[in-house]
């Protein structure tokens, strides 16, 4: 031992700086602002939960690299297509062969029965405000297992059982009619859980006799709420709700081989200052930093910013309400076109909408607020998805045109009398605030009788006004449920979509296009339909689209292996830990 001592010292002297560079080399700590809501794959509908869940559970398919259209099999052994005959010619039967010899984290073997159970459970749990409609709609043709009065539909179980069947080593899905985005929905939401584990832990056993008992449960009542048993690369070690953190531990028998990281921690830290400091100290490896905080993280030693990561979202969007609810409404002044308010149907006049559209400084917003990153949106379908039309005409800041529109609006009365109303944005959202301020400044500059008040509101108040259609103009956004143009076309343009419903906007032509596109499985045809839809969108101007945004990821330079998966929850801040590991940063990356 003794003679070796100097050698050891020497070695340590050399190796220590390199090793010391990486703190906690086999633990990855990510700090977010989203706090997980549940670990139940059928309940979750928030990014905080989804990130942890997608590290524990696995879907049948996943997207190849950064692609949003190419799928690779995960728990399925093949991706169905017409070419390989696994999708029937009429587009209504999908045969999905299931991978063999995959084990759950409790050691049991995953079978096609588990897949069937998981899809059924996803549909039949159907909690209010949950994601169940994403699979219910394509597989059984209706949105909810309950009718409008909240009563259970007695045939829901049988409909679901008819749609999802096991045939040998495959699961066969039978759709009432073709549904183009089905595979990408399954890739995001069809997460496989163990039926036997569920039954043992007091959740639904998969039988028809008991499903009603597990329909629309309380969040904490499901067995999957705070425990987990998936096939994924990480097991749940602990969900510490007091400290807002989820600790994941490597699953050593993972079928694709164990992850490089031993442990992954997702912790919610709402205060940016704290996140930044933990990152600086190397206690955190990845943190969420918004556009607002760019300057504070850029250039920190040992920190790497990965810029220009594309997203699947349309945010922010400024919506006009066509028929405002005037009852007890503080946002529309007098409620008449007398210079001290607006009538409830103020925005149903297209010229008013166009006047606002021409008053928005799109380029200035992208330049000043987003540091010039991102491109102006050309339609409700984001640039990352098929169906986006880069050549679609858009609005530009054109105050002369805006003036002209306002002069024509309501037969010249708007220009003569002026107006006053309130634009609301949710408190703390800087981008939405700035948009409201830009609109205010430019519109008020056109005519001294134009008055726009800008007010922040808290989420509860916002929701209150929104649901009652009391907000004259509101700014919201949409993040993809799954990467398909339908997921953007429907909520933004279809008269039954969430936003048009609140706006009281409907255009039968737009409805027809959307209905046709969802049932068509031919890519070229769909593209044409969506192009036409976005032409109508521009013409009708029911809302203002601002930007196809890009984001940046902030991580320590020793984090390796990250590639952008735009559809992954909270991307590019969220992490699929299986691809990551830690190693000293190469010299050139240091600044």
């Amino acid at each position: 031992m003794r003679p070796l001592y100097p050698l050891v010292c020497l070695l340590m002297a050399f190796s220590r700086p390199a090793l010391a560079q990486v703190k906690n080399p086999d633990t990855m700590t990510e700090l977010t602002i989203a706090d997980a809501d549940t670990l139940d794959a059928a309940w979750q509908y928030d990014t905080g939960s989804a990130e942890a869940i997608l590290n524990i559970y696995e879907p049948l398919f996943w997207f190849k690299g950064s692609s949003l259209t190419k799928l690779v099999p995960l728990l399925a052994s093949k991706v169905p297509s017409r070419a390989n005959g696994l999708i029937s010619r009429d587009g209504r039967v999908y045969t999905i062969p299931i991978r063999k010899a995959v084990h759950f984290q409790d050691g049991s073997l995953m079978t096609p029965e588990d897949v069937r159970y998981s899809l059924m459970r996803f549909m039949l749990q159907d909690r209010d405000g949950g994601p169940a409609s994403l699979l219910l709609q394509p597989l059984v043709g209706y949105n909810s297992t309950r009718d409008a009065s909240g009563k259970l539909k007695p045939n829901a179980y049988r409909d679901a059982a008819r749609a999802v069947q096991v045939k040998g080593d495959a699961v066969v899905l039978r759709l009432p009619k073709p549904y183009a985005p089905l595979l990408s929905i399954l890739a995001q939401w069809g997460l496989v859980v163990s039926r036997s584990w569920a039954a043992q832990h007091g959740d639904w056993d998969g039988s028809e006799a008991t499903w009603q008992k597990f329909n629309n449960p309380e969040k904490q009542a499901t067995a999957f709420y705070e425990q987990a048993d998936g096939t994924g690369p990480f097991k749940l070690e602990r969900w510490d709700r007091a400290n807002h953190e989820i600790v994941l531990e490597r699953f050593d028998d993972y079928w694709r081989g164990p992850a490089k990281l031993k442990r992954a921690i997702i912790k919610s830290v709402p205060e940016f200052g704290t996140r930044k400091l933990l990152l600086q100290a190397g206690d955190a490896d990845v943190i969420y930093a918004s556009e607002l905080q760019y300057k504070e993280v850029a250039g920190l030693p040992g920190v790497r910013i990965i810029e220009n990561q594309s997203s699947v979202e349309m945010n922010p969007v400024v919506y006009f309400t066509f028929k405002i609810n005037p009852v007890g409404n503080p946002y529309i002044g007098s409620g008449r076109l007398d210079g001290d308010g607006i009538p409830p149907d103020f925005f149903s006049d297209k010229n008013v909408r166009l006047g606002f559209a021409d008053s928005m400084d799109y380029a200035g917003f992208i330049r000043d607020v987003l540091r010039g990153h991102g491109t102006q949106a050309t339609g409700c379908i984001p640039v990352t998805l098929p169906g986006h039309n880069p050549r679609q005409k858009t609005f530009h800041l054109d105050l002369a045109a805006a003036k002209e529109h306002f002069q024509k609006a309501w037969d010249g009365k708007v220009w003569k009398e002026g107006f006053r109303f309130t634009i609301l944005y949710n408190q703390g959202n800087n981008e939405r605030e700035v948009i409201a301020e830009i609109l205010k400044r430019n519109v008020e500059g056109l005519n001294p009788k134009f008055h726009v008040d800008v007010r922040p509101v808290e989420w509860p108040q916002f929701l209150d006004g929104y649901n009652a259609s009391k907000l004259p103009i509101f700014t919201m956004g949409w993040h993809a449920d799954y990467p398909d143009p339908h997921d953007f076309a429907f909520p933004n343009m279809h008269s039954q979509g969430s936003y048009p419903l609140a706006q009281h906007y409907s255009n039968p032509k737009a409805d027809r296009l959307i209905d046709e596109a969802i049932a068509s499985t031919k890519a070229a045809r769909r593209r044409k339909l969506y192009f036409e839809l976005q032409r109508i969108e521009h013409e009708d101007c029911p809302h203002l689209l601002i930007v196809d945004a890009v984001h940046f990821r902030t991580q320590r330079d020793w984090v390796r292996g990250w590639t952008n998966m735009p559809i992954f929850p909270d991307d590019p801040y969220g992490s699929y830990f299986y691809q990551l590991w830690k190693a000293p940063a190469a010299k050139r990356e240091r600044r």
Partner: protein, 341 residues
């Protein structure tokens, strides 16, 4: 005495009932949509807002909701707190020890420093020591805790990286939640010691320094002032003058006579202070991201997490009543002139 205590204890349920009734009265102002905001957070869920409102019975009249809640209470349940993401009972078990620990760490220095310097300040009235004490008291009393807290963070965390916010660092986190860690008291300073882990103990202590310092500086002020003024009052009384005139040494007069009488309001105040701290120090816990009752309560209040608010306020209100009782009893002990009835 016993009857008095029993009588006061009997009041407890009434106060608690009043507290919850008052809260539900305030709720009357809320629309069902506003309360549903707790469950509907994502624009993707907007279309099912009505269903969510129905599911949680938010459209029912408030008194019906109160009845439901009371019935739940009768079964020993306090409901589920969305902000804590756990049942209210668990949340209290989770957050209370943290607050208790912070309170203990801050309270002792407050008491000792407050009484010691308050007395000295009165004895050496208008001397340098008195001026200094009064300066500290008045500045502490005038400094909002969030200003002081942020300043301390700026200096000792932003600049020197000494005292981070939160309750513990990553290593301690893993240790405390590891299988081999024995949880005895729920107080991490004690538990880490009992487990023999010095590093973790120091880490926990490090996280307590700034919030405790903030509390000490700000709450010390009141005790200093009360001790000083109450002491001054006693020293000005005839019996002290007489004693002094009779030739008793000054320090003895102070210790034997004046101090004892002057302690009466101090005892009352400090027992109230202790409980007030226990009820949660909202701002300090928020500023330092310290997972205690106060932070939970205010977070619940902000997000309209009604079960959470009810739970945390019930706890604080219960403690408050007990504290008042305790201070009255102490009062009687210290001051024999007072008889409880």
């Amino acid at each position: 005495m016993g009857r008095f205590i029993l009588k006061r204890l009997a009041l407890l349920p009434f106060v608690l009932f009043g507290v919850t009734a008052l809260l539900f009265c305030v709720l009357q102002f809320l629309s069902p949509e506003m309360r549903a905001a707790l469950y509907v957070k994502d624009p993707r869920q907007l279309s099912s807002l009505e269903a969510v409102i129905d599911k949680y019975g938010l459209r029912k009249p408030v008194y019906v909701q109160y009845g439901v809640w009371l019935k739940q209470l009768a079964h020993g349940q306090l409901g589920y707190s969305e902000t804590a993401k756990m049942p209210v009972v668990d949340a209290i078990k989770e957050f209370f020890p943290a607050t208790f620990e912070l309170t203990c760490v801050s309270f002792l220095p407050i008491l000792l420093l407050g009484v010691y310097f308050g007395t000295l300040s009165a004895v050496y009235k208008d001397k340098l020591l008195d001026q200094l004490t009064r300066f500290i008291a008045i500045t502490g009393y005038s400094l909002p805790s969030f200003v002081l807290g942020l300043l301390l963070l700026m200096l000792f965390y932003g600049k020197f990286h000494w005292f981070p916010p939160g309750r513990y660092g990553l290593d301690t986190d893993l240790l405390v939640h590891g299988d081999s860690f024995r949880h005895v008291t729920g107080l991490l300073t004690l538990d880490t010691l009992l487990n023999g882990d010095w590093a973790a103990f120091l880490d926990v202590l490090k996280h307590l320094v700034l919030p405790a310092a903030t509390l000490i500086y700000i709450e010390l002020a009141l005790l200093l002032r009360i001790t000083r003024s109450s002491m001054l009052e006693e020293l000005g009384k005839d019996y002290v003058r007489t004693a002094k005139a009779k030739g008793l040494p000054g320090s003895m007069v102070v210790r034997k006579h004046a101090l004892r009488n002057a302690m009466i309001p101090v005892v009352t105040l400090s027992s109230l202070l202790f409980i007030m701290l226990l009820g949660g120090v909202v701002i300090t816990e928020t500023v330092f991201d310290f997972p205690g009752i106060g932070r939970w309560g205010v977070e619940a209040a902000q997000q309209l997490d009604i079960p959470g608010v009810l739970g945390s306020t019930l706890l604080a209100a219960g403690l408050f009543v007990l504290a008042n009782l305790a201070s009255d009893v102490l009062y009687a002990f210290v001051d024999p002139r007072i008889r409880l009835e």
